[in-house]
């Protein structure tokens, strides 16, 4: 199994795009070495601006650049992109409907040892409440490249959520289409809906469940907005219940998005695996996923408890 850093792929994709599209500018806030926008900075120094440790200024300046027709990529850690500069994202980017692509790295618990201050567990919720904001959570390296290419084609604000740690490449998931769920396994007793780094955990869980005679459908919901409502409704109708797992608060993220659709269209039980009213903490990614009940075993147990 191949393992890649999503942010490496992001940086490399930006450079490729930068060669083709001279209109792209990239902004970062003193984290270009971590977010990998440093690759674009090296290739196109005249189109890269470092804002220092000043995320609010960076987001509002991104709006100014976009108002002049630039296609702006702006990167920092997810916790700062979504939380620290939220008002700037709301009023200067989203409200103006400007063509700004926020690519936030180091999201979720799997940031690891840096601990709670750096573990964005609320960013999807903060972006979901903003009108016009598209939200994408790629699950691996290749999907990161696909997502970055896809947001270039969208005329409007986008939020792309990437992790810090290396993630395994998920084979056979098919082509990425914005807003179209990927069915990774067919099943009729339960549907597991997930995104990002937890897709790999869910794949193991679904395999183990199959060995135990449980037929689980698995959806990689890489686009949280616009949500593939049809896939959710179909899952509700064709399988008995839904388990949503995400590396995010159980409030406001993918589970909430799924809940809304299910409750309005075809109410079935929706069980949530996520971070339940807790902050993160230091530790290795694997230790943290275990502590917060986000491993394949937790998914398996939840499905089994839901069936019985």
């Amino acid at each position: 199994m191949e393992y890649q850093y999503q942010r490496d792929i992001y940086g490399e994709t930006l450079v490729k795009l930068g060669l083709l599209n001279k209109n792209i500018v990239v902004l970062d806030a003193d984290l270009s070495g971590s977010t990998k926008t440093c690759l674009f900075a090296k290739a196109f120094p005249e189109r890269f601006f470092n804002f220092g440790v000043a995320e609010q200024n960076m987001m509002a300046a991104a709006a100014g650049l976009a108002s002049c027709g630039k296609l702006v990529f702006v990167s920092t850690f997810a916790v700062f992109a979504s939380g620290r500069a939220w008002d700037q994202v709301r009023n200067s980017i989203s409200y103006n409907n400007f063509n700004v692509k926020i690519v936030a790295t180091h999201a979720g618990l799997t940031v690891g040892p840096d601990g709670s201050s750096h573990q964005a567990l609320e960013d999807i919720a903060l972006m979901r409440v903003l009108p016009r904001m598209n939200i994408i959570v790629p699950c691996d390296g290749p999907q990161t490249a696909e997502a970055i290419n896809a947001v270039v084609a969208v005329n409007g604000p986008c939020y792309v959520r990437l992790g810090r740690s290396k993630v395994p490449t998920i084979e056979g998931k098919g082509e990425f289409v914005l807003g179209e769920a990927q069915i990774l396994a067919e099943g009729n007793q339960v549907t597991v809906i997930t995104c990002g780094v937890l897709v790999n955990e869910a794949i193991s869980a679904v395999k183990n469940l199959k060995a135990k005679g449980i037929s689980a459908r698995l959806i990689n919901m890489h686009t949280i907005r616009p949500l593939d409502e049809e896939a959710v409704i179909k899952a509700a109708k064709e399988t008995k219940f839904i388990v949503v797992c995400e590396e995010h608060s159980t409030i406001g993220g993918l589970a909430s998005a799924v809940d809304q659709v299910v409750a309005q269209n075809f109410p079935v039980k929706v069980m949530r695996l996520g971070i339940n009213a807790r902050f993160g903490q230091s530790g290795e990614p694997a230790e943290l996923l275990k502590e917060y009940n986000l491993t394949s075993l937790d998914i398996e147990k939840t499905v089994i408890s839901g069936i019985s």
């Binding site: 100014g64 650049l65 200067s92």
Partner: protein, 273 residues
């Protein structure tokens, strides 16, 4: 793109028309911010009639100069000036703050001539910075003007932008501080002191010009100096009077965000006749 510059007398007369419009709009809407609209009226009038290279009939020209009103609550002033310069019909002014209006309570891109929304204070200088950087990337010679408030300068975002504009040597950017000394809760000096303002902007690496923000001569000179100054962004600190032009509003904190009653409006319009 080129304006036919007005004389000092003509500009002064225009500013009076603008002030009348502000009073009429606010009296009609029943809410809004007269104090900071009137204090910056001379600054924005001079900018739009004699400085800004913008053609109301061609607002998509990439070479147009940019203006952004970061102190968005003073938008009655912006709207009045835009209407007077022909960006939209002056009749629209009486729809200020009404449902479905082109003229929202705070600036919005649905208004012709408004490049970016504002209203949440402290963000506009950063927006101007982005416009200035875009000119550098695209090798265009347009200039960027941003009006900020004094109360607004208490926002940390302003100083993040101040640092960055100097770092990137944005000499195509000119900020104007409408220094009327008042904010909603009282005198700036009492609420959260700003002084020494000029020294702060100098220390942040800006070319600083201090003027009487009601002297058309000084205003035009300052814009000229800013355009000619190379290597640094320019901050024009314009000493102004809140509510300028209406005797009972001048220096009165209470008129920051309170529209005139019909009687007050009548009296104000008599003074501005």
């Amino acid at each position: 793109m080129k304006n036919n510059p007005l004389s000092i007398q003509e500009l002064t007369a225009k500013a009076k028309i603008i002030r009348r419009s502000i009073i009429q709009m606010l009296a009609e809407s029943g809410s809004g911010h007269p104090g900071g609209s009137l204090s910056a009226a001379d600054l924005v009038t001079a900018l739009y009639f004699n400085v800004l290279r913008q053609d109301p009939a061609d607002l998509s020209s990439p070479d147009r100069d940019r203006f952004h009103m970061s102190k968005g609550h003073a938008c009655p002033l912006w709207y009045a000036v835009l209407a007077e310069r022909g960006y939209f019909d002056k009749k629209e002014l009486l729809n200020l703050r009404k449902f479905g209006s082109l003229l929202q309570g705070h600036p919005d891109r649905r208004t012709p001539g408004v490049e970016s929304a504002s209203g949440s204070l402290g963000q506009g200088l950063s927006v101007g910075l982005g416009m200035s950087l875009a000119a550098k990337v695209d090798k265009r010679s347009y200039r960027v003007y941003v009006l900020i408030g004094d109360g607004e300068s208490q926002e940390g975002n302003i100083w993040e932008a101040a640092m960055a504009c100097a770092h990137y040597s944005c000499d195509n950017l000119c900020a104007i501080l409408d220094y009327n000394g008042c904010q909603i809760d009282g005198r700036c000096a009492d609420v959260m002191g700003l002084e020494p303002v000029a020294a702060k902007w100098s220390a942040f690496g800006w070319n600083v010009i201090e003027i009487d923000g009601h002297s058309m001569e000084q205003i035009l000179n300052a814009y000229k100096q800013a355009e000619n100054f190379k290597g640094k962004p320019t901050m024009i600190i314009a000493h102004t009077i809140k509510g300028k032009g209406v005797s009972f509003m001048e220096g009165v904190v209470g008129f920051h965000g309170k529209a005139p009653t019909p009687e007050e409006a009548k009296k104000a319009l008599e003074e501005l006749a």
